[in-house]
Amino acid sequence: MALLQISEPGMSAAPHQHKLAVGIDLGTTNSLVATVKSGMATVLQDEHGHALLPSVVRYMPEGEVVVGHDAQAQQSADPVNTIASAKRFMGRSLKDIADRAHIPYNFVDSSDSTKLLQIQTRAGLKTPVEISAEILKTLKARAEKSLGGDLMGVVITVPAYFDDAQRQATKDAARLAGLNVLRLLNEPTAAAVAYGLDNAAEGTFVIYDLGGGTFDVSILKLTKGVFEVLATNGDSALGGDDFDHRIYCWVLDRIRETTNNFSPLNENDTRLLLTKARQAKEWLTDNHEAQIVCRLSTGTLVDITISATQFVEFTQQLVIKTLAPTRKAMRDAGLTLEDIEGVVLVGGATRMPQVRHAVEEYFKQTPLTNLDPDKVVALGAAIQANALIGNRSEDDLLLLDVTPLSLGLETMGGLVERIIPRNSTLPIARAQDFTTYKDGQTAMSIQVVQGERELVADCRSLARFELRGIPPMAAGAARIRVTFQVDADGLLSVSAREQTNGVEAHVVVKPSYGLSEDEITRMLKSSFGSAEADKKARMLAEARVSAGAIINSVTLALNADSHLISDNEKQTIETEIQNLQTVSQAEDADAINKAVDALNHATEAFAAARMNASVSHALSGKNLDSINL
């Protein structure tokens, strides 16, 4: 095991020290981890030289968990305990899964149809979050072994079209895997970073990303290290898996035609045929026909030849389905085809010739394929992780992303009132005022939805929450301001306050889906087999880490800019730093967190002054000394 480097308390690590950070592409079919080594983004391989980790998790009889190729190899033998494509189920309830009849897992039927789905395995009930966490743990171990140290932070990619629930689920999975998430990065944006920096590209580019289970299209403007997303669209339930599935259905029809008394397939045979279908799809990329040969558990011998022409024919609708979101993105960006400098293909499913043809035909130009479509997303994530953790010396990489779906509120009659339109640049905040309907009303219920449809019923409900403690007043007299904030991860938070009478009922709303703090603690416990004492130790460790981080950043800020504040203010801040240093030596996590808050509070004016100074500096290009502040 590598030795940990620990610096003197309160001292910052040497500025040139390389911090370990990786980018993770958590894919539907395959996952990857990449990092930047000596200025070059590289995908990290496992001990057998594999870069791709199949996103397959198998729960073994002895309680062991197997992830990757070994799990994939046993999919047909042990289908109900071997979960593939868990990403399709992230942040979803059972009613969201359209084709569950063809998925060989034991989904748990819940009386509550909005509850996040669970899968029954021999290791007990598993959520997609826990299954994804196993994949992340495997990649974490691979990276730490390969880089020889603990990871300080990761960037995890998500489909641009992922909604709030799916993003939250991804973040929860990372937490379960013990990863510090620097940022959730949209996959097409990651691809644009890798492509753009590699080719010194400038202009407007389209990223067409057809992965195993998701489709995204993003339009970006690239100028000198700035990647500005102009519009994004997609389908979070469309990908290479669906092409496998079409082959599977087609083969099943052929078997039915030729077999007497054909009985429904069992789970093992379903999985076997799906695997054969995937292999046939891959074979058809470079060949005119593929043969599917296997023996079902019923004894039936399957021997079917499928031609490339047939494959193109019965998957045509799937290809067409990607063009509507593409046109929408072009319209939202206000662009015509002539404005597009290049179209970059991302995702393994873009290897299919019919997909390439369709893209070429629509954009009237040959798509760019000079980067490995499987790796480009992970490489872009690694570059972003390297920049975010502070390793990149040039301070020129800036990603301006957007929210993929509109956010709205339920109004009278089940209609949606749009608050934040889709394709708004992040971070964004919007406030909306509400008032009471009846005299003396002290509570109200607000429903937040995400989606483009007019009716609440057609959109995804993110949260229904109640504002309580409104001071009783005449109808229409109260003023409740609700603020919606979408952060750079694309995650929503809602806060509300009553503005009249000086009464501030401040609520922070966590969406109703996602895992509660208790559930995460329980899962962490069961995965580490740890007891209450471990939880305390972890909380103390986390508190000390955040104390160290803030002391470090405030000290650096004081060294650079203490002329922006009075000696008095400076002294107050220094006192709080000393206090936090003292408290950090003790074993009380709560006390440390309180001291962190106090230090944060003491630096408010200083932070604002620094912000102002840096903005005037940016606009004038002058030295700070020459500006009269």
């Binding site: 100028t223 975010l388 708004s424 971070p427 964004i428 981080a549 912000m611 606009l619």
Partner: protein, 173 residues
């Protein structure tokens, strides 16, 4: 920091702004304030950076769009272009708006996306000449009363365009 949107980007408060300068100054401010730059900063610094980045996004969206820019310039003069009590429109504009709405409905029932696209192009041309008008009204003549009418027209034309875009989207599945 109570800068108005123009001051935030170091621009003169006029309608005919240099869009390239707006864009490059927007990027400069985002370079200094984007949350990605403050991952290791204290919570206080994160918050003030987040507020500035959010403000810059909002200000950029406002100034980039001609109708919103005109509306905002009038607001700086204390004029509310669109209010619930002030929706008066000249008759000829109302007629034109009705024509556009009817043409949209006809195209939707005929499922004619091309007709909708043509309608959008037609409105774009009209909007363009209104914008040229606004340069002289707002920046040169400072005739805010006439500018308010033109701005209101521009805003309504945007609404019609938005509805047409939504109609196209619903036809295009």
């Amino acid at each position: 920091m109570s800068l108005n949107y123009f001051e935030l980007f170091g621009l003169n408060p006029i309608f005919n702004i240099e869009l390239a300068t707006l864009e490059s100054n927007f990027r400069k401010i985002q370079s200094e304030s984007h949350p990605d730059r403050f991952l290791t900063a204290s919570a206080t610094e994160k918050l003030s950076a987040m507020q500035l980045a959010t403000l810059a996004n909002e200000a950029y969206q406002c100034l980039k769009n001609p109708a919103n820019r005109a509306k905002y310039l009038l607001e700086l003069q204390g004029i509310t272009a669109i209010s619930e009590t002030n929706t008066a429109m000249p008759m000829d504009f109302l007629m034109q708006q009705m024509e556009w709405r009817e043409a949209t409905e006809d195209a939707v029932s005929a499922k004619d996306v091309d007709a909708l696209d043509n309608l959008l192009a037609e409105i774009r041309v009209e909007a363009k000449s209104l914008q040229e008008n606004l340069v002289s009204l707002l920046d040169v003549k400072k005739d805010y009363a006439t500018a308010t009418d033109a701005t209101r027209k521009l805003i309504f034309m945007e609404k019609v365009s938005e509805d047409i875009n939504r109609a196209i989207e619903q036809l295009d599945i």
